[in-house]
Amino acid sequence: MSQFGRRIGTRSEGEAAREVVLAALGNLPPDGQLRISLNGLEVLSGSFADESIGKSYQALVSGLHEGRTMVVETPSLELTEGLADKLTQRRLAMLCLHDGQWVVLGQLAEPHQETLQLIVDRGSTTAKALADTLAIPANACHQRLKRLVELRLVLQERTGGTAPKTQYLFHSIL
């Protein structure tokens, strides 16, 4: 993001930056991940963040480039406040790497965060294994996973079976 300046910026400038973000997403391999670095920034306004990152992420969640993911890397969580607010307004959630840890920016309910934590810890897992660990019914677990997959916070891989008994493996994107 620092290619756009140290203190960014207005909506129009964010709109121009979105073209760059979407082009970078389009150039990734089918399972590629775009890491957006906030290093070198002093200020990231909510308007710029929404136009450049929020709207790009909205496009991804709406079905653009299935299999590709986006993650933010930041030297300070304060820099992400405007982005987090805008993602919340859009009812989206993104993974953000900070100081060797990950956090969720935006809106993600606590049960979904709990499930996401388990997937990140395990790297890959199944719905049954998650339901057993979380001690929740399979249906509830499937609902949580559906939302996490929709939000591109985890990736699902079909491993066998046929509908309605299709089997999936769920992968952490980190």
Partner: protein
């Protein structure tokens, strides 16, 4: 008479009631950036409307000098000024906000002027920069949302006082109610309702869920800093200060949106100074 958040209303009511051709400001003893910008826009508004005001300027040398140093006369002549003020007490003269592409440079200039005067803590400093980016860009983005404002004209200015940093941003565009009128699903009948909708509820003229809520966030942020905030549009004024709390009240009509933030010095890690040791107050309290 003072030209401050509270007292400038008397001036606007006087002009709104009687449509006078002459404005006597000779007795003005104090003006803050918000009062200064409203005066600037009022004079422009009357000139644009074909009913120019003749002004008797303040006779108090400190007030007259500060107004000049803040670039009031240059802005009224349309010449503007980018030069640092000659009077040390003036912090950031009136700057016009016209193009969105100029906003970040303008914000950086405001920040640089403040940082040159005080060592500032990084975190609140960058938060103020973020606030200014949002407020300044609102002028090119929203002040002529309906395309009906003949001259939406946006300005900003900043001044330091013994207890706080005073930032004012103002335009004489279409105002919040007209801006919201482009939505057909949220009928807003009054300016007070528009203030409530935009500042307190985060409504935007856009249906895109990512738009709006910036004024709401700024309102909450400055409240958390124990700051004073005023947002004026049309015939309604929302004020909030740590002592009296918040209220929206009816005022005389004036077009556009005008905003004042008074942020305590300690937010930025700057020690407060007694009024009688502050060069500005020394001059004005003679």
């Amino acid at each position: 008479m003072d030209l401050t958040i509270e007292r400038v209303e008397e001036l606007l009511r006087f002009v709104d009631d009687g449509a006078p051709s002459r404005l006597d400001l000779s007795a003005v003893r104090f003006a803050d950036p918000y009062g200064l910008l409203l005066l600037d826009l009022l004079i422009h508004h009357r000139a644009d409307s074909g009913a120019p005001l003749r002004v008797a300027w303040p006779t108090h040398p400190a007030v007259a000098g500060w107004m000049r140093a803040m670039g009031l006369h240059a802005d009224l002549k349309g010449t503007g000024t980018t030069r640092p003020p000659r009077v040390e007490a003036a912090l950031q003269p009136i700057a016009r906000i016209e193009e969105e592409s100029e906003v970040v440079d303008l914000v950086n200039a405001f920040d640089a002027r403040l940082a040159a005067r005080y060592p500032l803590d990084d975190s609140p400093r960058m938060t103020l920069v973020r606030i200014m980016i949002e407020l300044f860009q609102n002028i090119p983005q929203h002040s002529n949302a309906t395309g009906t404002a003949p001259n939406p004209h946006g300005v900003a200015a900043m001044q330091d006082y013994g207890d706080g940093i005073f930032l004012a941003i103002a335009d004489k565009g279409v105002g919040l109610r007209a801006s919201l009128s482009v939505r057909d699903d949220e009928p807003i009948d009054t300016d007070a309702a528009a203030l409530d909708a935009v500042v307190l509820r985060g409504l935007s003229r856009f249906k895109d869920p990512g738009r709006g809520q910036e004024l709401t966030r700024i309102y909450k942020m400055v409240r958390s800093w124990d700051s004073t905030i005023a947002v004026r549009t049309g015939d309604a004024l929302l004020t909030h200060d740590p002592v009296r709390g918040g209220e929206i009240r009816d005022v005389a009509f004036f077009p556009g949106v005008q905003i004042a933030l008074v942020i305590p010095r300690q937010v930025f890690g700057i020690p407060e100074v007694d009024a009688d040791r502050d060069p500005v107050f020394n001059e004005l309290d003679e």
